[in-house]
């Protein structure tokens, strides 16, 4: 029971006003583990992963990330966030910065890496996500899939220990989804600890060790991708799966 994972939820609750958006969440993510979170809209998936880097604050329970307890005065949140990459559904690239500047901004100003070194690393990362030729492009000049790949490179530029993804492909046109998923698979295969909110089952089957199913703020079911997709245990997960499978 004292074993600590990379991310450790212990009896976490959160309210928005009267709405109990997270109910008694207990969940531990091991280093190098990839966990996929799914569930119907409004079930609290985004809230769950936003709590991990403190974009949302929890009301009670404990949340320990990389050995540091959130909400503890001794925890330096800004510092902790540099260890956690977050990929948004809507990319949130800085529109006034080029792709390369997006990638190097935080390394230069937060990590205090010398500019030349950061730019060198930035170019390599952009090459890695297949955008070597878009280094000087502004976000408005990139397609959705390209923007999301820049966003992933932007996170990797901080050399994080954990990467969180909030529906990274759901704002994309279907033909761009795979280019982003391929990058995510590559990141996972390098041993990154990842929590990914997504309904992409192909991705889950390929790299996830575990699928967590949420409904109405609670974790209803959790298991290996095979168990979950082939033999869902609850009525709610069966209903959910039948809906996303139909698409």
């Amino acid at each position: 029971m004292t074993k600590t994972g990379m991310i450790d939820f212990r009896g976490v609750n959160k309210w928005f006003g009267a709405l109990n958006v997270l109910r008694d969440i207990t969940l531990s993510v091991e280093p190098r583990e990839v966990v996929v979170v799914c569930g119907p809209s409004g079930s609290g998936k985004s809230t769950l992963i936003r709590c991990i880097n403190g974009l949302e604050t929890i009301r009670d329970g404990d949340l320990v990330v990389d050995g540091q307890r959130l909400g503890d005065p001794a925890t330096n949140m800004t510092r902790l966030r540099t260890e956690i990459g977050f990929v948004f559904q809507s990319f949130n690239l800085y529109p006034h910065k080029t792709a390369l500047e997006n990638v190097t901004l935080a390394p230069i100003h937060v990590r205090k890496i010398p500019r030349a070194e950061a730019e060198q690393a930035g170019r390599e990362l952009l090459a890695k996500v297949g955008l070597a030729d878009k280094v000087d492009a502004y976000p408005a000049q990139l397609s959705g899939g390209q923007q999301q790949r820049v966003a992933i490179a932007r996170c990797l530029g901080m050399r994080p220990k954990i990467m969180l993804f909030d529906e990274p492909t759901s704002a994309l046109d279907p033909e761009m989804i795979s280019e982003v998923l391929d990058v995510m698979v590559a990141v996972a295969e390098e041993g990154m600890t990842m929590m990914v909110v997504t309904h992409e089952m192909g991705f889950a089957r390929k790299v996830a060790q575990r699928v967590v199913f949420m409904d109405a703020g609670a974790i209803v079911e959790s298991g290996t991708p095979d168990e979950f997709f082939s033999h869902p245990k609850t009525d709610r997960s069966r209903a959910f799966l039948s809906k996303i499978l139909r698409h």
């Binding site: 880097n53 974009l55 966030r81 949130n92 800085y94 100003h109 937060v110 502004y138 932007r154």
Partner: protein, 225 residues
């Protein structure tokens, strides 16, 4: 009737109009610079979380917006000497314009900052930036772009507002028109001429606003660092 409209008198008074125009332009420029300074300070106060700075800034902005510039001008003009500051009319006028426009500039800056999508703040937070870093690297460079056109709009308002300084006998453009009107009893010549000069300034600033809008819209902003 206007059939004896005298262009000769206008030409005769042209040096006076020229001086008035020049005065209007430079006193507007100084006042606008002052307004920017006042506006930046006010909006910085307004963005604080604590009430200590926020409440006075808001009160000031509301007080300025809910009262006429002319009353504010008289407040300073008749009031400052009471406090022992006997200043030239021109200085009082510039002060009034700066303090007045500053409140509007503060609102423009605030709207610019609020127009930046929440996701931008979150992206900054998520990559471990401090509040100051987020402001400096992410929010302000974007907000700056958004505020340029409305700031030029405020500059137009300021130039027109500066006409009120003629009422405390600052020798600017409108005053020149008043002189012609009263010296020679030629109000038409006086006021139509200065109206034309104001229109000239208006179209210059309006053109600039259009240009800046097009420039900002088409060309992605260069990194400002």
């Amino acid at each position: 009737m206007l059939e004896n409209f005298s262009f000769r008198t206008i030409v005769e008074y042209l040096p006076l109009f020229g001086q008035g125009l020049v005065t209007t332009v430079w006193l507007s420029l100084i006042s606008f610079a002052g307004a920017l300074a006042v506006g930046i300070v006010l909006s910085a106060m307004n963005l604080q979380r604590g009430w200590l700075f926020r409440v006075p800034a808001k009160a000031y902005i509301d007080a300025v917006r809910a009262t006429p510039l002319l009353a504010q001008l008289y407040f300073l003009y008749f009031g400052l000497p009471r406090l022992g500051f006997v200043l030239p009319e021109l200085v009082v006028g510039i002060l009034a314009l700066s303090l007045n426009s500053g409140a509007y500039v503060a609102e423009i800056i605030r709207a610019g900052i609020l127009s930046i999508p929440r996701g931008q703040v979150e992206a900054g937070v998520a990559s471990g930036m401090t509040y100051v870093q987020r402001m400096r690297l992410v929010i302000l460079p974007q907000a700056f772009k958004v505020t340029i056109p409305p700031l030029l709009g405020q500059a137009i308002v300021l130039v027109k507002d500066s006409a009120l300084l003629s009422l405390i006998s600052v020798a600017e453009l409108t005053r020149a028109g008043q002189l012609l009107a009263s010296d020679r009893f030629m109000p038409a010549e006086g006021f139509i001429t200065i109206a034309a000069f104001y229109l000239l300034l208006y179209y210059c600033l309006k053109g600039l606003a259009a240009l800046s809008g097009r420039w900002l819209g088409l060309q992605p902003a260069r990194s400002s660092t």
